[in-house]
C-alpha cells in the first residue's frame, strides 16, 4: 500500500468519529520506482492531509519532507521529487494500520491491508 492510499483511508468502525490518520506499524517497506507526473501531483496536492503524510513517511523511514508547506513550493523540482517519492514510491509491504481511536489493528500483508470489519463493528 502506498502512502497515497494511506492518506485517503480512515477507520470505518461504528462509533469512531475521527478515524484519521491510521497509525502505521511498519515491518517491511519497499520502494517501487514510478514515473513522476507533475500534473497528477498538482491535482492531488490540495487533497492531501500534509501532516498525516509527513508523519506516515517518517514511520516508513523517509524524513525528507518539510514540516510546513505552501502551494508555491509546487514549482520547485526538488520538492516535487520528494513529494512524489513519499506519495507514490514508498510501499508498505508488511505491517499493520492501527485505528487512532480504538486501537484496532488492520493487518497488512503482501501490501494489501485487510479492512474487513467484524460484525459488531459495522
Amino acid at each position: 500500500m502506498r502512502l497515497l492510499s494511506h492518506n485517503m483511508l480512515s477507520s470505518n468502525i461504528k462509533g469512531v468519529t475521527n478515524g484519521f490518520p491510521l497509525r502505521i506499524e511498519a515491518e517491511k517497506v519497499v520502494v517501487k520506482q514510478v514515473d513522476l507526473n507533475v500534473r497528477f501531483l498538482k491535482n492531488m496536492f490540495p487533497k492531501i492531509e500534509w501532516k498525516a503524510l509527513v508523519e506516515a513517511s517518517r514511520t516508513m523511514g523517509y524524513a525528507e519532507l518539510p514540516e510546513e508547506v505552501e502551494p508555491s513550493k509546487l514549482d520547485s523540482r526538488d520538492f516535487l521529487q520528494k513529494f512524489h517519492h513519499a506519495l507514490l514510491e514508498l510501499v508498505l509491504e508488511e505491517g499493520a494500520l492501527v485505528c487512532p481511536e480504538t486501537g484496532r489493528r488492520f493487518p497488512v500483508s503482501k501490501g494489501i491491508p485487510n479492512m474487513l470489519l467484524h460484525e459488531d463493528e459495522v
Binding site: 500500500m1 502506498r2 497515497l4 492510499s5 492518506n7 485517503m8 483511508l9 480512515s10 477507520s11 470505518n12 478515524g19 484519521f20 507526473n37 500534473r39 497528477f40 491535482n43 492531488m44 487533497k47 492531509e49 507514490l88 503482501k110 501490501g111 494489501i112 491491508p113 485487510n114 479492512m115 474487513l116 470489519l117 460484525e119 459495522v122
Partner: protein, 290 residues
C-alpha cells in the same frame, strides 16, 4: 448456468479456481476490459490529460484497473475476495489494493476521489449471505460512504447485473436516497447477450451537467425511449425463469406400465364411470407388426 449471486457469498464464490479464470480465460478478460472502458467513458472525466484518483469497487484481479492505468489514472481498488486480490498481485497491477467489504461502507476521507467505477459487483449487495446482512442497510452504507468520499460533481459508473426489476429498483432508490442524481444507462437494449446496464451517478444535486448519457445500440442510433423500454421489460422473460428446470416429467422411456393403468381404472370405477373389466389383455404390449 445459474447466477453466481445465487451460489455462494462473493468471498467464497471467487476462490482460487474461479480467480484463475480471470487470468486464463481470454473471453472473460476481453469482456471485462470492454466493460471497464465503457465505464470510464461514462465517467466523462474532463479531457485535460490530468491523471485522476479513481476508485475501483470490486476490482477483483485488477482487469478493470489496468484499463484505468492505461488511461494514465491512479486508482485504489477494493475487493472482498483474497483469491482475486492474489491474482491481482501476480498481475502486478499499478493501483493499490484493499481487502474490504463494500457493504460495510468505504472507509475513505471526504471528497478525495475524482470518480468511481465498478464492474459486475453492485448486485452482490442485494444478497443477504450472513444473518447480520440486511441488503437495504448494506446498500445504504455503501452509497452513503461513496457519496462522502467522492468530490462534488464527481461521477460514478457501475456496470451491474440486477436479477430482476425489484433489485434494480432497490439499488437505484438507495443511490438516490444517498443524494446522488443520475440513472440507468442501457447499452444494446435489444440484444440479450450484449445488453449491459450501467448505473451512472453524479455526486450532488441535479444540474445541467448531470443528465444521464444515452446507451449504445446496434445501429449506432441511441434514441430509445425510457418509458417504452420499461414496458418491454415487463414482457420479456427474465433469465432466471428461463433456467428454472422444467416440471419433472413422470413418463419414463418404458411407458407407464400395467400397475399405473390398473390404478387409473380403479379410480375411474370409484367415480362411477363405465370402465372395461381387467383382463389379461389389459396394458399388454402391441406386437411390432401392428
Amino acid at each position: 448456468m445459474s447466477r453466481p449471486e445465487l451460489q455462494n457469498p462473493p468471498e467464497i464464490f471467487y476462490n482460487d479456481d474461479e480467480a484463475r479464470k480471470y487470468t486464463r480465460n481470454s473471453r472473460i478478460m476481453e469482456i471485462q476490459s470492454e466493460l471497464s472502458e465503457r465505464a470510464l467513458e461514462l465517467l466523462a472525466l474532463p479531457e485535460d490529460d490530468v491523471p485522476r484518483l479513481l476508485l475501483d469497487i470490486g476490482c477483483g484481479s485488477g482487469l478493470s484497473g489496468e484499463t484505468l492505468s492505461e488511461s494514465g489514472h491512479q486508482w485504489i481498488g477494493l475487493d472482498i475476495s483474497q483469491s482475486m486480490l492474489d491474482v491481482a498481485l501476480e498481475n502486478e497491477v499499478k493501483g493499490d489494493l484493499l481487502l474490504a467489504d463494500m457493504g460495510q461502507g468505504l472507509g475513505l476521507r471526504s471528497g478525495v476521489m475524482d470518480g468511481a467505477i465498478s464492474i459486475s459487483a453492485v448486485q452482490w449487495l442485494c444478497n443477504a449471505d450472513k444473518s447480520s446482512h440486511n441488503p437495504r442497510l448494506r446498500l445504504k452504507a455503501f452509497f452513503g460512504s461513496l457519496y462522502r468520499c467522492l468530490a462534488r460533481g464527481a461521477k460514478a459508473a457501475f456496470q451491474m447485473y440486477p436479477e430482476n426489476l425489484d433489485q434494480r429498483e432497490l439499488i437505484v432508490s438507495s443511490a438516490m436516497r444517498a443524494g446522488f442524481s443520475g440513472g440507468i444507462v442501457v447499452d444494446y437494449p435489444n440484444s440479450s447477450k450484449k445488453r449491459k446496464e450501467y448505473l451512472v451517478l453524479t455526486c450532488g444535486p441535479p444540474s445541467v451537467n448531470t443528465s444521464v448519457p444515452e446507451g449504445k445500440s446496434e445501429d449506432g442510433d441511441s434514441s430509445f425511449d425510457d418509458d417504452s423500454s420499461g414496458d418491454e421489460e415487463n414482457q420479456t422473460v427474465s433469465i432466471s425463469d428461463r433456467h428454472r428446470p422444467r416440471k419433472k416429467q413422470r413418463i419414463t422411456k418404458k411407458g407407464k406400465g400395467r400397475d399405473w393403468i390398473l390404478k387409473k381404472k380403479e379410480q375411474m370405477r370409484r367415480k362411477g364411470n363405465v370402465v372395461p373389466p381387467d383382463t389379461k389383455y389389459t396394458a399388454r404390449k402391441r406386437k411390432a407388426r401392428f
